[in-house]
Symmetry: C7
Subunit: 267 residues, 7 copies
């Protein structure tokens, strides 16, 4: 009977299971776990977001797979999970940011906007007739000269991290960060550590051309994405550290195979 329990409590997000869990929320987290890996690192001089977009076909315009978004001048966000849900949440965040500027004539706080997103997500776990959002966000920004990095999940929970990851590669990336992260790193080292983690999480099946990197440095307070050239320079250093044997071919091969199946990964 214990075995049957999940089926009985997991088809409506507004229902608790006997052990106090909300299965629909947990299943929405599964949607995130199947998504692309997104990484965030906060160091004293800024925050960096990185995503390995895993473009599965040369026919896709890689630029159209956007996983890192500018929310406001001073805030960016990386997403993992259902892409249409992510877009809806980013749109909502941008509107909140604009409302703040119009209402108070000042930029919205990073924590404030993160909480607003989470409050919105929470209502989708308590009221009937909807499903939870199947998307987690990493929200990066600078506020009062301090870098901030928040993670929201489908339940509407909010945590601030020094460094974290969401999506399919979360576990290996977190393990690497637990061992090597140091908040006194400079931003360049943080970017390199993030790329290295993504490289390892992808078992070396890695295409620097589909890396998306966004950062915000404390003195400038402007969130911006790195150009392809800038990303390549970091990637080159990865290849120096991990000389490419036959990895590349492997990656290509796997890329081919994935053409169809992979479409699932971010839905």
């Amino acid at each position: 009977m214990r075995e049957m329990a999940p089926q009985m409590y997991d088809r409506a997000s507004t229902v608790f299971s006997p052990d106090g869990r909300l299965y629909q929320v947990e299943y929405a987290r599964e949607a995130v776990k199947r998504g692309t890996t997104a990484v965030g690192l906060k160091v004293k001089t800024g925050v960096v977001l990185l995503v390995d977009k895993r473009v599965s076909s040369r026919l896709i315009e890689a630029a159209s797979i956007e996983k890192i978004f500018q929310v406001d001048d001073h805030i960016g966000a990386a997403t993992s999970g259902l892409v249409a849900d992510a877009r809806a949440l980013i749109d909502r965040a941008r509107v909140e940011a604009q409302i703040n500027r119009v209402s108070y004539d000042e930029p919205i706080g990073v924590e404030v906007i993160s909480k607003k997103i989470c409050d919105h997500k929470q209502t989708f776990t308590q009221y009937g007739g909807t499903r939870p959002y199947g998307t987690s966000l990493l929200i990066a920004g600078v506020e009062d000269n301090k870098p901030r990095l928040f993670e929201t999940d489908p339940s509407g929970a909010l945590l601030e991290y020094k460094a974290t990851a969401i999506g399919a590669g979360r576990v290996p990336v977190i393990e690497m960060f637990e061992a090597q992260y140091d908040e006194n790193m400079d931003l360049n080292d943080a970017i390199f550590l993030g790329i290295e983690a993504l490289y390892k999480a992808a078992d070396g099946k890695f295409d620097p051309m589909t890396l998306e990197v966004g950062l915000i440095a404390v003195p400038f307070e402007k969130f911006r994405k790195l150009t392809a050239d800038e990303v390549t320079r970091f990637a080159d250093k990865i290849y120096e550290k991990y000389p490419k044997n036959d990895d590349k071919e492997d990656a290509e091969k796997s890329c081919k195979k994935k053409t169809d199946a992979d479409e699932d990964s971010d839905i």
Copy 2:
């Protein structure tokens, strides 16, 4: 029990399955996979959309099976899946385009209109009381002198492609494009490649009279459909390349047989 799982999570689009999937969205994609094949190719000088309408009876006015639609002067769209859903989405797109002209006195961006369609689709996957749209769209246009080609699916996901296909013949067409597509082709070659792909996807059961072709060239920024004569000229080149043996009769025979069953294909 794993075997039973689909039945338990797939009857309401607002519910996640234990592995984080939305079965109703995936089933809506099946409706698209059963639709007519629609193809889009973007080259540097423009975008072309092609559909093999598969008219099953001489009693049907082929012109009334419209699969390629003018959305605005500079934007066209090809559809596959449920035809009534497609019409509803095209109507919505046209209204959005007109609203943009009225509100801002300028044409709507290709990416903007594609996102609006996708946002609309996403809400049908999250709220109860409706089903997702059973239609994918290829949206083609020119924006800032650049050709654009977007694909939207029932989840509300949006991707930009260099070349892509939706509907029953998607897999063979994509394989052919992966091998032969080159973004430096001129538009005529793109049209020919598209027709050739449809010809192959249909196993040579092919009637140029029911081909629908739309295109937009960069300098003109006007989306237009090819006339029957223009299409025929391209088709003739197909027949040159693939000399008709008894293919035609086969096509006719199959056409006959399909009279009834085929009505399913686009519903």
Copy 3:
């Protein structure tokens, strides 16, 4: 399990089956297939609609079984399927036609009104709390001096035909049209072909008194129904071509038997 599938997906029109079908819409089509046969033929000089009303009892006022309706001066429609649904759709069409006259001071286009009916039908297949309409329509009219003939089905799909049929006799009628239809026929020949097709579809159980025929000729642009006398004259030619043996008695006998069961046919 495949066998069980229909039961699991067919009780709500807002739900897709695993193979991307909407069972409620398909079942609504069954309601149409059980209806009276309605036939439409478009020739260069006009369009004709014909219905075999199959009046099952001499106590019924045959005139009250109306299957062909005037929608506007220049538009008529024949229906098959649930009669109360048909009446609701015809009412809606008439209102749309009047709104057009009031708003734009001109008659509504045949294609425009057909699309409006279809859009209305589509919403009944996507939103919860209702069932699809169990009625198909043949819509005939003249627009810009051209005859038009549309068919709408319960899904909201719309096709233009040269000649078509809906209801119980669809398959034999379509077969006859595929063989004998010619768009250069004159209107009288078209009427005769339509009556002949109904005669054959009814296996000769045929009562000219319960035939309903409507037509619109290109130069006049007025949809009108034939009088009983006019219909009789065409029927007489049928009897000339197919000399009545004992068909009539058979028809009467079957008519008797059907008194009760037949009430199902159009509901």
Copy 4:
């Protein structure tokens, strides 16, 4: 599985069965079939409605079992099926009639009011959250100097009849009418034929005191109910034609037995 089907499609009127039927509508018709027999006859000089009210106890005020209602000066209606539903429909009809007088300063047409009732009934078969009406109506009136007689059923279907019946005795009454009805009868003969049919349908268990008869004659255009005396005079002629043996006692005995069970018949 075929055997199981009804249970699966018949619990919500908004759902089609696989063979295109609406079971809830058909079950509502069963409620009508269990109701009291109501009869209508239209002859050239007028229309007559008759109901055998089957009063089961001498404690009931027979007059309070009303089955024939005045809807407007020139329109009457007889009902069979759920009595509370019937009252709601009659109220609605009366309001429609009054609205017509107020809005257009003229009496509502018999066909118009019949269609309005049917349209109202149809919506109860298509939208969720309600059941169909469990009542059929015979609507009688005079319009443009012509007698009219309509029958509406729970689906919202509308037919005009020369002579018809609804309720428990429908089949034997219709059979008798098919044989003996003649539209050239005078009104008195029509009343006698109707009473005779009710007498036969009741197997001679017949109480003229509980007969309700309404009529409208063409020249007067006033619907009125016969007085008890008038009814008795017709009944006497029945007894002349069918000399009472021991029928009466039988009727009384059965009347006694039915005290309880019969309450079902009109609910």
Copy 5:
């Protein structure tokens, strides 16, 4: 399968069973059948209502178990079934009566108010989201110098009676009335007959102190309840007719036993 049928159609009042029944309405009637017996008798000079309140404990204030209510000066009602539903219906009736006085400056008709209550009840049997009322009413009054006595049941059906009963003792009371009722009785005899019927229906377990009696006489047109003294005088006559042996003790004993179980009877 026939055996299973009830379970399948009886859980929502808006659904018909295959034989055209509304099970929820029939179950609501069961709630009435389990209620206290209420009796109504109409004679030429007035109407009397009687209820045996069956007070199960000496700790209850018998006066608070009200089963006969004044609705307006000239109208009273007796109830059986769910007591909270009864109170809601009586409140509604009183408001309707007051509205009539305010709107038309005259007392509401007895039949009019009965119909309004029934119409209200009917809607609870047709629309989803509610259950039918589990209460029947006997409505007594004088109108145009004539006594009137109506019975409404949970379906919203309305009948006028000469004499009737609702609740647990309905069958034996009705049998007695069929035999002994005479509309020419005077009011006192009617009261005595009613009390005698309740006495018999209760198998002699009878406490005159918990009898509630209301009456309205034609010339006065005021509904009033008898005082305890008046009731006792009638009861004494019962005891004269049926000399008390050991009945009283029995009644007391049963009263004791019922303390708990009896709470079900009117709920």
Copy 6:
């Protein structure tokens, strides 16, 4: 099948069971039966309410477990069942009392406010989407110089009592009252009888410190709660009558054990 029946009809309060019961209402009564025992006694000179609050831990502020509430100057109420539901009902009662004072400038009647609470409760048993209230109330007050004591249950039924009890100890308390209650007692004796009944119902496991007592005397018309000192004086008399052997230790022991389990009792 009889055995199965409850499960089939008890999950929605708006549905009748085949025997005319509303299971959800009966289950809500079970919630009351699991609540703390509340007692009411009405004597000629006033009304008294008593509750044994059963405080399970010394860490709880006993005063915060409020079971007797002042509703208005002249009205008090004791509750048993779900405590949050009780608070909601008391709040509603207080608002009704204030509205009455504002609207009519006089205190609300005890019966009036009791009926308003009951009407509110009834709607929660008839309309879908809610559950019944899981709380009974004893409402005490003085009106026109007369003491009144009402009991409301989850169905919305209303009874006036001389003496009654709700909650876990109802049966033994009622038995004691049936034997010993006398409406000519003075108020002090009534309080003593009430405490004695609670003492017995609790099997002597009894802490006078957690007794809550409220009373209203006829001449003063002010409802007030007894102070701890006043309660202690009554409790001392209990201990005189029932000399404490080892009861106290037992009570303490049981108190300990109950720490966890007891939380269920009032929820």
Copy 7:
């Protein structure tokens, strides 16, 4: 059947089980029992709240795991259970506090705000379409120079405590308080007792850096959180009393292991 019962009544909070329980509310309490341990102690000079936040990774900013919130100047709250629900409730409490200041120009009472939170929670247990809140709160404040400490649970029940605990460690903490709590302690001793209880509840796996402590002293009437330094000083005293053997390593080890599983604990 008893065994089956829970599954049948626990999937909608608006439904009672046969024994009068609301399973959804009880399951929501399970969510609280899986939460972090929160402790409250009220002594004569003030109230203290303590939470062991159990930060599972050095990558998390411990400060972002907020379990103790300032609600108003004079009110604080500690939470356990679903974190997103907690945030929603705290937001609501803050708004209520501000409304009170604006409306009445004075701070809201501690009991008043606690009741408002509970009333809000109660509605989520009675109306359909939502789930109960999966969060309990300890609300601490000073009111009229008196310290107050309330606990609310998912049902909306409200109790005032001298000392209490919610969350995973509730049972051992309560046991320790039952033995050692004394309301005459000074605030420092209360803080020490609270920390000691958390230390023991965590089996010595304890990191003073993740302790959150809030307090309000009677004379100041300002709720404030202790600084990290202040907390450390108390923790040092713990280490003096319980000399660290290898506990620390154990804690670290367990901390590591928990990285993944622990995410469940507060969701």
